[in-house]
Symmetry: C2
Subunit: 175 residues, 2 copies
């Protein structure tokens, strides 16, 4: 496979190619670091919720993972509250089982309180930002157990990976 | 000690009295639950950050507490991002050693990005909400290693415990 060097279109293709299988959480964290370093936004991954069972001299001797009731990333952009999750699928659709009921309820609550909530989806080697409102719309108007690729494509912002900014998503948020 | 029953002032005294030694985190969580149940705000305590060292079949076999780099409570009120901490002191002042350097930096960042940050202080059996801006002002203009009670009293909103609403603080936020 050859990549002509003097074409922007093909350069983007190289990035896309080299990006295959790149960990979604990692490239979102790269963007968050870029936003922090450049004073654009303050967004971080929440700690994994862990249930502490036993401790001994402040050392944890027994604990287990708790199921998360909220979304993975939280933060602040131009005064506004942001909370979102990252989902990957190898299918040509996003199974709704990937979004737990309490997560969906949480997305609704955030929107009710005028916060910004969305999911970033890695599907068909592409990245999309799908607003919470669009997810709820889909669920309210469909009996399907998954969100098809076409719906995602038509109702999302397509995100591009950039080796400086990571998976740059913040510019698509309406604040 | 006697409490006349038909005086609002004295009734408040009873509440205050019965409230002695009440756990600060607990009464903030009570308020957060009230805000959630009554659709006023969406605020929660962050999970304790834990460093997972070893796992075995998704069971955590070794882990330890990580130092928190942010504040204890995070949330959303009328679209705005809120992050704050709770501090208790048995002295007539709040030792600045209670607020770690990285927490102070975080408060500054939140204010820069137009978020709302503050601390709730339990001091002299009273509760106060001190804005992040006032904390930074104090540190910038004093060489003292603690914030005296008088500064807190003069620059904060005094909070009251209410058996329905818990430690109601949200009404004092400027959104």
């Amino acid at each position: 496979m050859k990549y002509p060097s003097n074409s922007k279109k093909n350069y983007n293709k190289i990035i896309e190619y080299s990006n295959r299988g790149m960990n979604l959480e990692k490239i979102i964290n790269e963007a968050n670091k870029y936003y922090l370093d450049n004073n654009i936004a303050l967004i971080y991954k929440k700690p994994t919720p862990v249930q502490i069972v036993k401790t001994n001299n402040n050392k944890i001797t027994e604990s287990f993972y708790k199921e998360k009731s909220t979304l993975d990333f939280v933060g602040l952009y131009k005064g506004r509250y942001i909370e979102f999750d990252a989902k990957e699928t190898k299918q040509n659709y996003l199974p709704l089982s990937n979004i737990k009921d309490h997560q969906l309820l949480h997305i609704k609550k955030i929107i009710e309180h005028n916060g910004i909530s969305f999911i970033i989806i890695h599907i068909n080697k592409e990245y999309y930002l799908l607003n919470g409102e669009k997810i709820i719309d889909f669920i309210n108007n469909n009996d399907r157990k998954s969100i098809p690729y076409d719906y995602i494509k038509e109702n999302s912002k397509k995100l591009n990976y950039n080796y400086i900014k990571g998976l740059d998503y913040i510019k698509y948020l309406e604040v």
